[in-house]
Protein backbone atom coordinates (compact mmCIF):
# COMPACT_ATOMS: atom_id res chain seq x y z
CA UNK A 1 0.00 0.00 0.00
CA UNK A 2 3.16 2.14 -0.19
CA UNK A 3 2.36 2.32 -3.88
CA UNK A 4 -1.34 2.84 -3.18
CA UNK A 5 -0.44 5.85 -1.09
CA UNK A 6 1.85 7.30 -3.72
CA UNK A 7 -0.96 6.82 -6.24
CA UNK A 8 -3.28 8.96 -4.12
CA UNK A 9 -0.56 11.58 -3.80
CA UNK A 10 0.15 11.59 -7.52
CA UNK A 11 -3.54 11.86 -8.33
CA UNK A 12 -4.07 14.68 -5.89
CA UNK A 13 -1.05 16.69 -7.04
CA UNK A 14 -2.26 16.30 -10.60
CA UNK A 15 -5.97 16.95 -10.26
CA UNK A 16 -6.04 18.93 -7.01
CA UNK A 17 -9.44 17.35 -6.34
CA UNK A 18 -11.00 18.07 -2.98
CA UNK A 19 -11.91 14.42 -2.52
CA UNK A 20 -8.32 13.26 -2.86
CA UNK A 21 -7.15 16.00 -0.54
CA UNK A 22 -9.73 14.96 2.07
CA UNK A 23 -8.66 11.33 1.83
CA UNK A 24 -5.09 12.38 2.56
CA UNK A 25 -6.21 14.57 5.44
CA UNK A 26 -8.17 11.74 7.06
CA UNK A 27 -5.29 9.36 6.49
CA UNK A 28 -2.68 11.62 8.10
CA UNK A 29 -4.92 13.23 10.74
CA UNK A 30 -3.47 11.07 13.56
CA UNK A 31 -0.19 12.97 13.08
CA UNK A 32 -2.00 15.90 14.63
CA UNK A 33 -2.92 13.77 17.63
CA UNK A 34 0.74 12.96 18.16
CA UNK A 35 1.90 16.58 17.89
CA UNK A 36 -0.99 18.09 19.85
CA UNK A 37 -0.68 15.69 22.77
CA UNK A 38 3.06 16.32 23.04
CA UNK A 39 2.55 20.08 23.02
CA UNK A 40 -0.35 19.70 25.47
CA UNK A 41 2.08 17.97 27.83
CA UNK A 42 3.78 21.35 28.22
CA UNK A 43 0.63 23.38 28.74
CA UNK A 44 -1.76 23.80 31.67
CA UNK A 45 -4.82 21.54 31.75
CA UNK A 46 -6.92 24.64 31.09
CA UNK A 47 -5.84 24.60 27.45
CA UNK A 48 -8.29 22.42 25.53
CA UNK A 49 -6.51 19.69 23.62
CA UNK A 50 -9.31 19.67 21.02
CA UNK A 51 -8.43 23.28 20.22
CA UNK A 52 -4.79 22.36 19.73
CA UNK A 53 -5.88 19.60 17.37
CA UNK A 54 -7.99 21.96 15.29
CA UNK A 55 -5.02 24.37 15.03
CA UNK A 56 -2.89 21.41 14.02
CA UNK A 57 -5.37 20.30 11.37
CA UNK A 58 -4.78 23.57 9.54
CA UNK A 59 -1.06 22.88 9.66
CA UNK A 60 -1.69 19.41 8.24
CA UNK A 61 -3.87 20.71 5.40
CA UNK A 62 -1.20 23.30 4.66
CA UNK A 63 1.47 20.60 4.62
CA UNK A 64 -0.54 18.40 2.26
CA UNK A 65 -1.07 21.33 -0.10
CA UNK A 66 2.61 22.33 -0.12
CA UNK A 67 4.22 18.87 -0.09
CA UNK A 68 5.99 17.71 -3.23
CA UNK A 69 6.08 13.89 -3.34
CA UNK A 70 8.68 14.06 -6.08
CA UNK A 71 11.29 15.47 -3.74
CA UNK A 72 11.77 12.09 -2.09
CA UNK A 73 11.28 13.27 1.48
CA UNK A 74 8.99 11.50 3.89
CA UNK A 75 5.73 13.38 4.28
CA UNK A 76 5.37 12.50 7.96
CA UNK A 77 8.66 14.23 8.74
CA UNK A 78 7.65 17.36 6.86
CA UNK A 79 4.12 17.37 8.26
CA UNK A 80 5.11 17.01 11.91
CA UNK A 81 7.11 20.24 11.89
CA UNK A 82 4.40 22.10 9.93
CA UNK A 83 1.73 20.93 12.37
CA UNK A 84 3.85 21.88 15.36
CA UNK A 85 4.51 25.29 13.86
CA UNK A 86 0.81 25.85 13.20
CA UNK A 87 -0.18 24.97 16.78
CA UNK A 88 2.51 27.14 18.37
CA UNK A 89 1.80 30.04 15.99
CA UNK A 90 -1.90 29.93 16.81
CA UNK A 91 -1.20 29.71 20.53
CA UNK A 92 1.02 32.76 20.34
CA UNK A 93 -1.52 34.67 18.29
CA UNK A 94 -4.30 34.06 20.81
CA UNK A 95 -1.82 35.27 23.40
CA UNK A 96 -2.79 32.54 25.83
CA UNK A 97 -0.25 33.54 28.48
CA UNK A 98 -1.99 35.95 30.89
CA UNK A 99 -0.61 39.41 30.29
CA UNK A 100 0.11 39.90 33.99
CA UNK A 101 2.26 36.78 34.20
CA UNK A 102 4.06 37.67 30.99
CA UNK A 103 4.96 41.13 32.28
CA UNK A 104 6.09 39.77 35.67
CA UNK A 105 8.38 37.34 33.88
CA UNK A 106 9.77 40.20 31.80
CA UNK A 107 10.48 42.34 34.86
CA UNK A 108 12.23 39.46 36.61
CA UNK A 109 14.37 38.93 33.51
CA UNK A 110 15.25 42.61 33.36
CA UNK A 111 16.23 42.60 37.03
CA UNK A 112 18.36 39.47 36.52
CA UNK A 113 20.11 40.92 33.50
CA UNK A 114 20.81 44.21 35.27
CA UNK A 115 22.18 42.53 38.42
CA UNK A 116 24.26 40.08 36.44
CA UNK A 117 25.90 42.94 34.55
CA UNK A 118 26.50 44.58 37.92
CA UNK A 119 27.93 41.64 39.88
CA UNK A 120 29.28 39.55 37.00
CA UNK A 121 27.63 36.48 38.53
CA UNK A 122 24.09 35.07 38.72
CA UNK A 123 22.05 37.16 41.20
CA UNK A 124 20.46 35.61 44.29
CA UNK A 125 16.70 35.62 44.91
CA UNK A 126 17.07 38.19 47.65
CA UNK A 127 18.98 40.49 45.30
CA UNK A 128 16.35 40.05 42.60
CA UNK A 129 13.51 40.65 45.07
CA UNK A 130 15.25 43.78 46.36
CA UNK A 131 15.77 45.07 42.84
CA UNK A 132 12.07 44.55 42.11
CA UNK A 133 11.12 46.02 45.46
CA UNK A 134 9.15 42.92 46.48
CA UNK A 135 9.59 40.24 49.15
CA UNK A 136 11.30 36.95 48.43
CA UNK A 137 7.98 35.22 49.08
CA UNK A 138 6.38 37.37 46.39
CA UNK A 139 9.23 36.51 44.04
CA UNK A 140 8.85 32.80 44.71
CA UNK A 141 5.13 33.16 44.03
CA UNK A 142 5.96 34.68 40.67
CA UNK A 143 8.14 31.66 39.89
CA UNK A 144 5.25 29.40 40.94
CA UNK A 145 2.79 31.27 38.75
CA UNK A 146 5.05 30.99 35.73
CA UNK A 147 5.75 27.31 36.44
CA UNK A 148 2.05 26.53 36.62
CA UNK A 149 1.73 27.61 33.01
CA UNK A 150 3.91 24.70 31.98
CA UNK A 151 6.99 24.39 29.86
CA UNK A 152 5.66 25.83 26.61
CA UNK A 153 5.26 29.26 28.18
CA UNK A 154 8.87 29.20 29.34
CA UNK A 155 10.07 27.63 26.19
CA UNK A 156 9.52 30.72 24.05
CA UNK A 157 11.13 30.87 20.67
CA UNK A 158 14.86 31.27 20.32
CA UNK A 159 16.77 32.75 17.41
CA UNK A 160 13.35 33.54 15.90
CA UNK A 161 12.25 33.29 12.32
CA UNK A 162 12.57 30.50 9.81
CA UNK A 163 10.06 27.77 9.14
CA UNK A 164 11.34 25.89 12.14
CA UNK A 165 10.07 27.16 15.46
CA UNK A 166 13.11 26.78 17.66
CA UNK A 167 12.52 26.50 21.38
CA UNK A 168 15.00 26.34 24.23
CA UNK A 169 14.08 22.76 24.91
CA UNK A 170 14.47 21.59 21.35
CA UNK A 171 17.85 23.26 21.01
CA UNK A 172 19.19 22.06 24.32
CA UNK A 173 18.01 18.51 23.99
CA UNK A 174 18.59 18.04 20.27
CA UNK A 175 20.43 14.75 19.89
CA UNK A 176 20.02 14.65 16.16
CA UNK A 177 23.49 15.74 15.21
CA UNK A 178 22.70 14.70 11.66
CA UNK A 179 20.97 16.76 8.96
CA UNK A 180 18.50 18.05 11.50
CA UNK A 181 21.33 19.90 13.20
CA UNK A 182 21.96 23.03 11.16
CA UNK A 183 25.03 25.10 11.86
CA UNK A 184 23.04 27.89 13.49
CA UNK A 185 21.36 25.38 15.73
CA UNK A 186 24.62 23.76 16.75
CA UNK A 187 26.01 27.19 17.44
CA UNK A 188 23.06 28.22 19.60
CA UNK A 189 23.34 24.89 21.39
CA UNK A 190 26.98 25.63 22.13
CA UNK A 191 26.14 29.12 23.39
CA UNK A 192 23.43 27.71 25.63
CA UNK A 193 25.78 25.10 27.07
CA UNK A 194 28.27 27.85 27.87
CA UNK A 195 25.56 30.00 29.42
CA UNK A 196 24.34 27.11 31.55
CA UNK A 197 27.90 26.50 32.68
CA UNK A 198 28.04 29.99 34.14
CA UNK A 199 24.94 29.50 36.26
CA UNK A 200 24.85 28.71 39.95
CA UNK A 201 25.12 25.05 40.87
CA UNK A 202 21.44 24.19 41.44
CA UNK A 203 20.21 25.84 38.28
CA UNK A 204 23.01 24.22 36.31
CA UNK A 205 22.12 20.79 37.65
CA UNK A 206 18.39 21.15 37.02
CA UNK A 207 18.81 22.36 33.44
CA UNK A 208 21.40 19.76 32.59
CA UNK A 209 19.49 16.84 34.10
CA UNK A 210 16.18 17.98 32.61
CA UNK A 211 17.31 18.79 29.06
CA UNK A 212 20.51 16.79 28.56
CA UNK A 213 19.76 13.71 30.65
CA UNK A 214 16.00 13.87 30.15
CA UNK A 215 15.29 13.04 33.79
CA UNK A 216 11.85 13.85 35.19
CA UNK A 217 11.37 16.67 37.69
CA UNK A 218 10.73 14.02 40.33
CA UNK A 219 13.97 12.17 39.54
CA UNK A 220 15.87 15.46 39.67
CA UNK A 221 14.26 16.15 43.03
CA UNK A 222 15.74 12.92 44.35
CA UNK A 223 19.17 13.91 43.08
CA UNK A 224 18.98 17.32 44.79
CA UNK A 225 17.06 16.13 47.82
CA UNK A 226 14.19 18.57 47.27
CA UNK A 227 10.53 18.28 46.27
CA UNK A 228 9.42 18.05 42.66
CA UNK A 229 7.69 21.43 42.89
CA UNK A 230 10.89 23.00 44.22
CA UNK A 231 12.73 21.60 41.17
CA UNK A 232 10.01 23.11 39.00
CA UNK A 233 10.64 26.53 40.52
CA UNK A 234 14.39 26.25 40.14
CA UNK A 235 13.84 25.29 36.51
CA UNK A 236 11.66 28.33 35.94
CA UNK A 237 14.19 30.67 37.53
CA UNK A 238 16.99 29.09 35.52
CA UNK A 239 15.20 29.47 32.20
CA UNK A 240 14.33 33.10 32.99
CA UNK A 241 17.98 33.65 33.74
CA UNK A 242 19.04 32.10 30.44
CA UNK A 243 16.51 34.19 28.58
CA UNK A 244 17.70 37.36 30.34
CA UNK A 245 21.15 36.66 28.92
CA UNK A 246 20.01 35.92 25.39
CA UNK A 247 17.39 38.61 25.09
CA UNK A 248 19.79 41.22 26.40
Amino acid sequence: SESELSTVWARFKETEKQADRDDLIVYYAPLVKYVASRIAAGLPQTVDQADLISYGMFGLIDAITKFDPERGFKFETYAVSRIKGAVLDELRSIDWVPRSVRSKAKSVERAMSKLEAQYHRPPTDSEIAEELDITETQLSNIYKQISSLGMVALDEMLAGGGSETLTFGDTLADRRDGPGMTYERAEVRQLLAQAINKMSEREKIVLTLYYYENLTLAEIGKVLGVTESRVCQIHTKAVLQLRSRFDA
Binding site: S1, S37, A40, M57, S81, D170, N197, E213
Partner: protein
Protein backbone atom coordinates in the same frame (compact mmCIF):
# COMPACT_ATOMS: atom_id res chain seq x y z
CA UNK B 1 28.23 6.33 32.48
CA UNK B 2 28.74 6.77 28.77
CA UNK B 3 27.59 3.20 28.21
CA UNK B 4 24.51 3.87 30.34
CA UNK B 5 23.72 6.99 28.35
CA UNK B 6 24.18 5.17 25.09
CA UNK B 7 21.80 2.39 26.13
CA UNK B 8 19.36 5.00 27.42
CA UNK B 9 19.49 6.98 24.21
CA UNK B 10 19.00 3.88 22.07
CA UNK B 11 15.99 2.87 24.14
CA UNK B 12 14.46 6.34 24.17
CA UNK B 13 14.96 6.75 20.43
CA UNK B 14 13.08 3.49 19.93
CA UNK B 15 10.49 4.57 22.49
CA UNK B 16 9.93 7.84 20.66
CA UNK B 17 9.28 5.98 17.43
CA UNK B 18 6.98 3.44 19.07
CA UNK B 19 5.04 6.22 20.81
CA UNK B 20 4.71 7.98 17.46
CA UNK B 21 3.19 4.99 15.66
CA UNK B 22 1.11 4.17 18.76
CA UNK B 23 -0.55 7.57 18.41
CA UNK B 24 -1.08 6.95 14.69
CA UNK B 25 -2.71 3.59 15.45
CA UNK B 26 -4.86 5.10 18.19
CA UNK B 27 -5.95 7.90 15.88
CA UNK B 28 -6.92 5.49 13.10
CA UNK B 29 -8.73 3.31 15.59
CA UNK B 30 -10.69 6.27 16.91
CA UNK B 31 -11.54 7.44 13.38
CA UNK B 32 -12.86 4.01 12.39
CA UNK B 33 -14.54 3.74 15.78
CA UNK B 34 -16.27 7.03 15.08
CA UNK B 35 -17.88 5.40 12.02
CA UNK B 36 -19.18 2.56 14.14
CA UNK B 37 -20.70 4.84 16.73
CA UNK B 38 -22.16 6.97 13.93
CA UNK B 39 -23.94 3.90 12.57
CA UNK B 40 -25.18 2.85 15.97
CA UNK B 41 -26.55 6.34 16.28
CA UNK B 42 -24.38 7.04 19.31
CA UNK B 43 -22.61 10.00 17.69
CA UNK B 44 -25.72 12.05 16.94
CA UNK B 45 -24.13 14.99 15.21
CA UNK B 46 -21.72 12.80 13.26
CA UNK B 47 -22.52 13.23 9.55
CA UNK B 48 -21.78 10.69 6.87
CA UNK B 49 -19.67 12.77 4.54
CA UNK B 50 -15.97 13.46 4.89
CA UNK B 51 -16.37 17.13 5.68
CA UNK B 52 -18.44 16.08 8.67
CA UNK B 53 -15.72 13.66 9.71
CA UNK B 54 -13.12 16.41 9.43
CA UNK B 55 -15.32 18.66 11.48
CA UNK B 56 -15.49 16.05 14.23
CA UNK B 57 -11.79 15.30 14.05
CA UNK B 58 -10.66 17.28 17.13
CA UNK B 59 -13.14 15.42 19.32
CA UNK B 60 -12.30 12.08 17.73
CA UNK B 61 -8.55 12.50 18.14
CA UNK B 62 -8.30 14.15 21.53
CA UNK B 63 -7.22 12.10 24.54
CA UNK B 64 -10.03 11.09 26.89
CA UNK B 65 -8.30 12.36 29.94
CA UNK B 66 -10.68 10.55 32.28
CA UNK B 67 -12.01 13.73 33.83
CA UNK B 68 -8.78 15.60 33.17
CA UNK B 69 -6.86 14.69 36.30
CA UNK B 70 -4.17 17.32 36.61
CA UNK B 71 -1.43 14.77 37.17
CA UNK B 72 -1.46 13.12 33.78
CA UNK B 73 1.99 14.38 32.90
CA UNK B 74 5.20 12.43 33.19
CA UNK B 75 7.13 15.54 34.25
CA UNK B 76 9.89 15.04 31.72
CA UNK B 77 10.97 17.24 28.85
CA UNK B 78 8.79 16.38 25.89
CA UNK B 79 9.91 17.14 22.36
CA UNK B 80 7.87 16.82 19.19
CA UNK B 81 10.20 14.50 17.33
CA UNK B 82 10.21 13.58 13.69
CA UNK B 83 9.65 9.85 13.08
CA UNK B 84 12.81 7.79 12.76
CA UNK B 85 13.60 4.51 11.03
CA UNK B 86 11.70 2.32 13.47
CA UNK B 87 8.65 4.58 13.22
CA UNK B 88 8.62 4.33 9.44
CA UNK B 89 8.95 0.53 9.58
CA UNK B 90 6.15 0.20 12.14
CA UNK B 91 4.17 2.71 10.10
CA UNK B 92 4.34 0.37 7.13
CA UNK B 93 2.94 -2.41 9.32
CA UNK B 94 0.11 -0.12 10.35
CA UNK B 95 -0.58 0.69 6.70
CA UNK B 96 -0.88 -3.04 6.09
CA UNK B 97 -3.61 -3.19 8.72
CA UNK B 98 -5.54 -0.22 7.40
CA UNK B 99 -4.77 1.20 3.95
CA UNK B 100 -5.54 4.73 2.80
CA UNK B 101 -8.40 3.54 0.60
CA UNK B 102 -9.94 1.51 3.42
CA UNK B 103 -9.89 4.56 5.66
CA UNK B 104 -11.33 6.75 2.91
CA UNK B 105 -14.14 4.27 2.25
CA UNK B 106 -14.87 3.38 5.86
CA UNK B 107 -18.55 4.28 5.60
CA UNK B 108 -18.92 1.69 2.84
CA UNK B 109 -17.54 -1.16 4.92
CA UNK B 110 -19.93 -3.90 5.96
CA UNK B 111 -20.67 -4.33 9.65
CA UNK B 112 -18.49 -7.41 9.71
CA UNK B 113 -15.56 -5.78 7.95
CA UNK B 114 -15.85 -2.74 10.18
CA UNK B 115 -15.76 -4.85 13.34
CA UNK B 116 -12.89 -6.83 11.89
CA UNK B 117 -10.87 -3.74 11.08
CA UNK B 118 -11.40 -2.41 14.58
CA UNK B 119 -10.21 -5.69 16.09
CA UNK B 120 -7.06 -5.65 13.99
CA UNK B 121 -6.33 -2.03 14.84
CA UNK B 122 -6.94 -2.63 18.52
CA UNK B 123 -4.64 -5.65 18.47
CA UNK B 124 -1.92 -3.67 16.70
CA UNK B 125 -2.25 -0.79 19.15
CA UNK B 126 -2.14 -3.05 22.18
CA UNK B 127 1.05 -4.61 20.85
CA UNK B 128 2.61 -1.18 20.47
CA UNK B 129 1.49 -0.07 23.94
CA UNK B 130 3.01 -3.19 25.46
CA UNK B 131 6.31 -2.67 23.65
CA UNK B 132 6.21 0.96 24.77
CA UNK B 133 5.68 0.00 28.40
CA UNK B 134 8.63 -2.38 28.26
CA UNK B 135 10.78 0.37 26.81
CA UNK B 136 9.59 2.68 29.59
CA UNK B 137 10.64 0.15 32.21
CA UNK B 138 14.03 -0.21 30.56
CA UNK B 139 14.55 3.54 30.21
CA UNK B 140 13.39 4.31 33.74
CA UNK B 141 15.72 1.66 35.12
CA UNK B 142 18.67 3.20 33.28
CA UNK B 143 17.59 6.68 34.37
CA UNK B 144 17.40 5.56 38.00
CA UNK B 145 20.99 4.40 37.80
CA UNK B 146 22.13 7.58 36.07
CA UNK B 147 20.30 9.67 38.68
CA UNK B 148 21.87 7.64 41.47
CA UNK B 149 25.35 8.38 40.15
CA UNK B 150 24.59 12.09 40.12
CA UNK B 151 23.16 11.88 43.62
CA UNK B 152 26.21 10.03 44.90
CA UNK B 153 28.52 12.46 43.15
CA UNK B 154 30.05 9.83 40.87
CA UNK B 155 29.08 12.01 37.93
CA UNK B 156 28.82 15.79 37.66
CA UNK B 157 27.00 17.95 35.13
CA UNK B 158 30.34 19.28 33.93
CA UNK B 159 30.84 15.94 32.21
CA UNK B 160 27.78 16.75 30.11
CA UNK B 161 28.17 20.44 29.35
Amino acid sequence: IERLRQLRTEASTAEGDVSFVRRMAQGRFDIVGHERSRRSGAAEDASIDVSGLLFDMPDILKDDDNGGEGGSRSGRHVEVLEPGKIALELGDQLDAVVSPSALAAVERLSEADLADLLDQLREFEVGLSQARRQLHDRIDMLQDEIARRYRDGEVTVDSVL
